[in-house]
């Protein structure tokens, strides 16, 4: 294809997206569109499956049978969401194994928030309330993104995710209506998860490299700073309702703007964790790599068995 032809195709392609048409896997697409989508969708998928670990950590210690079942179901949903997203990504011509390889080698990123440890039961509440809350803000606009398989996966994810945040908030509510010890546990969890949750919505707009292109392709409908403001505005009243204090002395409602002003975010910490030096980066990656490597003989056996069965069927038929 000549340079001119490609330019022409690109123009048609961009116009289709501008008209809100969906792009499907076999449609022609610019290489950069493909690569950007592989990067973002897989990063999203990786976040789901790494995200299983900090919560999975509390399944065996959940304080009631009802909580145990809810937590199991939630972590299972995360596996499901990872699976939907890997499948969407695979339609772009990359295999799940290659995607795992990118995760395990450190080439692919996942949401940094999962590199923080879950040290008390209240963390299950805080993660559901704050981390899933921030995730929903990020994800809802993606239900209308331009790439069909991604948009469809996100519709399913968002539909299922709606119980996650409620589950978390309910845990917090129960703690806050409980004993002094329980309230302190809840406040401590909020203190530890508040700032990482704000960081989860991504670097500030002036430091974000992908925003402009992503907006055009509807991979993003709002900037990181807009999303962060939305998250803060909706979360502060929820904290008030719990009787908890948000750990930010500068947090104040601004009558003029109609939004909450908030204090500076420690971006040094953010970049440190992104670069692999968070509290649990190593543990999380080891857990994923171990699961994959220790499962190799199982996956091989299943394939070998399937091949034997097929051979038997063929022999029978002939």
């Amino acid at each position: 294809m000549s340079e001119n032809e490609v330019k022409n195709l690109e123009a048609i392609f961009e116009a289709r997206i501008a008209r809100d048409e969906k792009i499907e896997p076999k449609d022609w697409m610019p290489e950069k569109y493909r690569q950007t989508h592989i990067r973002q969708i897989s990063q999203h998928a990786h976040s789901e499956i790494v995200g299983m670990l900090p919560e999975g950590n509390w399944i065996t210690r959940a304080p009631s049978l009802r909580r145990k079942a809810a937590l199991l179901a939630k972590v299972q949903d995360e596996a499901g969401h990872g699976l939907y997203l890997y499948s969407a990504c695979e339609t772009l011509g990359i295999s799940r194994d290659e995607l795992y390889e990118q995760l395990h080698s450190g080439k692919a990123k996942y949401s940094s928030i999962f590199n923080y440890p879950t040290v008390t039961w209240a963390d299950m509440g805080a993660i559901g309330w704050l981390v899933d809350g921030a995730a929903i803000i990020n994800q809802v606009p993606l239900c209308n993104t331009s790439f069909g398989p991604y948009a469809r996966a996100m519709v399913r994810v968002c539909k299922e995710e709606s119980f996650h945040q409620r589950q978390g908030y309910e845990i917090m509510l129960t703690l806050c209506n409980g004993t002094q010890e329980q309230k302190e546990m809840a406040q401590d969890a909020l203190n530890r998860w508040w700032w990482p949750s704000l960081m989860m919505l991504g670097p500030t707009d002036d430091a974000s490299v992908h925003t402009e292109q992503s907006m055009k392709w509807k991979l993003k409908r709002k900037t990181n700073d807009e999303l962060r403001q939305q998250f803060i505005d909706q979360t502060v009243p929820q904290a008030d309702l719990l009787g908890l204090t948000i750990p930010d002395p500068d947090l104040k409602f601004n009558e003029e703007t109609g939004h909450y002003d908030f204090g500076p975010i420690d971006w040094d910490e953010f970049w440190q964790v992104v670069k692999g030096h968070g509290p649990c980066n190593k543990e999380r990656m080891n857990a994923r790599v171990n699961a994959w490597e220790e499962g190799a003989w199982v996956r091989d056996a299943a394939m070998a068995y399937a091949e034997k069965q097929t051979a038997k069927k063929v022999a029978k038929a002939s």
Binding site: E24, K26, D27, W28, Q76, D77, G80, L83, Y84, S87, E90, S95, R96, D97, R152, A153, R156, E160, A296, R299, D300, A302, M303, A304, Y305, A306, Q309, T310
Partner: protein, 94 residues
């Protein structure tokens, strides 16, 4: 060895009376596993009463580049639609 589990497409009938609809895909070593995985992955919330699984490689898909010749010729065959035919308003039940 290390041969990866192939990809399967999952179709689910959400209730009797409706058609099977494409729900998504998954990996499985064989058809039984694909069926079990489909049940566990795609019907966790009571979404189905019947499942089809088919290995993705057996699906032949039309090529979007052929869309012109495949689908556009149907666009001007308006006589296939009832509105093509002019009848007086007095004619009922038609």
């Amino acid at each position: 060895m290390t041969k990866n589990w192939p990809l399967w497409e999952v179709f689910v009938r959400s209730k009797n009376g409706l058609e099977h609809r494409h729900f998504g895909s998954l990996h499985a070593a064989d058809a039984e596993m694909a069926m079990e995985n489909a049940r566990d992955v795609y019907t966790r919330r009571n979404e189905g009463v019947s499942i089809w699984v088919v290995e993705s490689k057996y699906i032949t898909a039309s090529n979007p580049q052929d869309n012109g010749e495949l689908f556009e010729p149907a666009q001007d065959k308006i006589y296939r639609h009832p509105t093509f035919y002019d009848l007086p308003d007095d004619v009922k039940h038609m």
